[in-house]
């Protein structure tokens, strides 16, 4: 393995973990709104969340570039107000991956929240728990397997995200060149086949480990629930 390949693997892991961790709280909140909320514009929110799933990734990446680029309305504001820059930085790759993984994450969490019996939540309310505490002590623990599944899906999607990332933040080694971008680059140069194959194997191993890990975690949580 070359140093460049290692860099791409490390960067990909960093981007995927950051994207998952950063979007998880928002993902849980949006999932809860979609599962339990009754408000005007719910359909619109639902569509908006799912949009990256339907749009071509290149289109999503280009929209991100327009909105979050240095000259983009949101990007310019964030740069001036907080000094946060997305364009052509690894943080931009994080944003692209988070946006692309978001629908998958929200979907999994939403389904698991919908499966939680609302009668348990109202029982907790009559015992004196504030709605936020009801969520923290009843809803969240009961839908935890779904939250983990959603996080793993987002992580896996982030590891594989290519189109939106390369459109938004390009393919800069050491900064925005994630695993898929590196594989793509290697396949474009003569003699890069061996490197592409190595990275492909690594990609497969990471995905499988993530999947097995989530299964084990879900099983342990499930076992804890039925333990007598």
């Amino acid at each position: 393995m070359t140093a460049e390949e290692w860099t791409a693997v490390r960067l990909s892991l960093l981007v995927a973990v950051t994207a998952t961790a950063a979007s998880l709280p928002l993902g849980v909140a949006i999932a809860w709104l979609l599962a339990r909320g009754r408000f005007w514009g719910k359909g619109l929110l639902d569509t908006l969340v799912h949009l990256p799933l339907i749009l071509p990734p290149v289109v999503t990446g280009y929209l991100l570039l327009i909105l979050f680029g240095r000259r983009g309305p949101i990007g310019e504001f964030l740069d001036r107000a907080f000094g946060i820059v997305f364009a052509f930085r690894w943080t931009g790759a994080v944003l692209a991956c988070a946006v692309m993984g978001f629908p998958l994450m929200v979907r999994a969490i939403r389904l698991s929240i919908e499966a939680v019996d609302t009668r348990l939540e109202s029982a907790a309310g009559t015992l004196g728990a504030h709605p936020l505490l009801v969520f923290a002590t009843i809803t969240l623990p009961l839908c935890l397997p779904g939250v983990i599944a959603g996080a793993i899906l987002c992580f896996a999607k982030s590891m594989g995200e290519f189109g939106a990332t390369i459109t938004f933040v390009s393919n800069i080694p050491g900064e925005t060149q994630t695993l898929p971008s590196a594989i793509y680059t290697l396949t474009q140069i003569p003699g890069g086949d061996a490197g592409a194959l190595r990275l492909t194997l690594i990609s497969v191993v990471i995905s499988m480990v993530a999947l097995l890990g989530s299964e084990m975690l879900a099983r342990r949580l499930g076992a804890r629930r039925v333990a007598t």
Binding site: D117, R119, L120, S122, A123, A124, G125, T126, L127, G128, A129, H130, P131, L133, V134, T137, I138, P141, L142, R224, R225, V226, A227, T228
Partner: protein, 352 residues
């Protein structure tokens, strides 16, 4: 404690219009399924927001639609025992019991410390188990304890025994009685079982098609209950036992009753429940019949219902209900004021 309810609520085509004031002790909300009992309890517990009206507990307004006031359920301090116990599946029995403690400071309401509640409900052996390993009766006992430990000033019980079989009911009823007598929490108890209401309630609110049709002490109101198993309640005292025939003689204002041997000692109070269809009427003192119990009384009221009629008797001040066919009513020429003899075929007993 007093609970004051005056609400109007519409749900689809169902209209609920209820107004009553409850007394300390157990107030039973009695009525057929679909009469609006659960909706009413949910309004008191804060699970449903009524369209119009007021709910007050101990002078504190919980709902007042005119003043746009609505206290959310978690700030009401009203315990709720659901028909389906609703224990939290991811917590142990002990954690379920202690759940409410995280949120309520231990001031006011029922003084309920963990050990005495556990002992009262007999759930000490279950503490480290998970809810899904409990039987239906055990689950309900834990649910009662959980509600009690949140220091409620009022306990709502929505048909807590309805999902249980006869044996489980018999297992839990004594605990609810102990709760009524020892824990000092007023209870609003929803039921469609006359036997349960007769045994537990001090006050009865009868609900029929979303309207309160009667409110009052259990002895006066229950005979009016428009239920398929209508009947009457008689407070009595164990007079003596006849060991030879294995019978117990009870004394009541209506007269003496002989019943199969009870385990209660002489002097103990019991509450007899006599179903209307187990009472026959005779104009003459019946002689040479097998029935042991004959009470003298007067016809107080005749309420026709279809091919039958519910006869309300006044037996020296106690109310007794009899259900006869219209033909019998005509043949005996029954009218209010007419002296009759009530032949009682069977009596069910609850210790009170």
């Amino acid at each position: 404690m007093s609970l004051d309810v005056d609400i109007k609520h519409r749900h689809g085509t169902f209209h609920l219009q209820a107004r009553f004031v409850s007394q300390p002790g157990v107030t039973a909300l009695f009525g057929r399924s679909g009469s609006g009992k659960t909706t009413l309890v949910n309004i008191v517990g804060g699970l449903i927001r009524p369209d119009r009206g007021r709910v007050t507990v101990d002078g504190q307004v919980l709902v007042d639609t005119d003043r746009r006031l609505f206290v959310p359920r978690h700030r009401r301090r009203i315990g709720y025992v659901f028909q389906d116990s609703r224990l939290f599946p991811h917590l142990s029995v002990r954690q379920n019991l202690l759940y409410g403690r995280w949120f309520t400071s231990g001031t006011g309401g029922a003084v309920a410390d963990f050990d005495s509640v556990v002992e009262l409900l007999g759930i000490g052996a279950l503490l480290d188990r998970r809810p899904d390993s409990l039987s239906g009766g055990e689950k309900q006992r834990v649910a009662i304890g959980r509600a009690l430990l949140a220091h409620p000033r009022l306990l709502l019980m929505d048909e807590p025994l309805a999902s249980l079989d006869e044996a489980r009911r018999a297992e839990i009823l004594p605990y609810i009685e102990r709760l009524r007598d020892k824990a000092g929490v007023p209870i609003l108890y929803v039921s469609h079982s006359v036997a349960e209401v007769a045994r537990l309630a001090t006050t009865v609110v009868i609900l029929s098609d979303g309207k309160v049709t009667a409110v009052g002490p259990v002895l006066d109101i229950l005979p009016l209950a428009d239920a398929s198993d209508g009947g009457s309640v008689l407070d009595a005292v164990v007079a003596h036992h006849d060991e030879g025939f294995q019978l117990t003689t009870l004394a009541s204002v209506a007269g003496e009753l002989q019943v199969p041997r009870l385990s209660a000692p002489a002097g103990a109070s019991v509450r007899a429940y006599i179903r209307a269809r187990d009472v026959m009427l005779s104009l003459q003192p019946p002689q040479e019949i097998s029935a042991l119990n004959v009470l003298a009384g007067k016809v107080a009221q005749i309420v026709p219902s279809g091919a039958q009629a519910d006869i309300r008797l006044d037996c020296n001040g106690a109310v007794l209900m009899a259900r006869l066919t219209n033909k019998s009513v005509q043949r005996l020429a029954l009218v209010p004021g007419r002296p009759v003899y009530a032949v009682i075929k069977s009596v069910s007993f609850e210790r009170s």
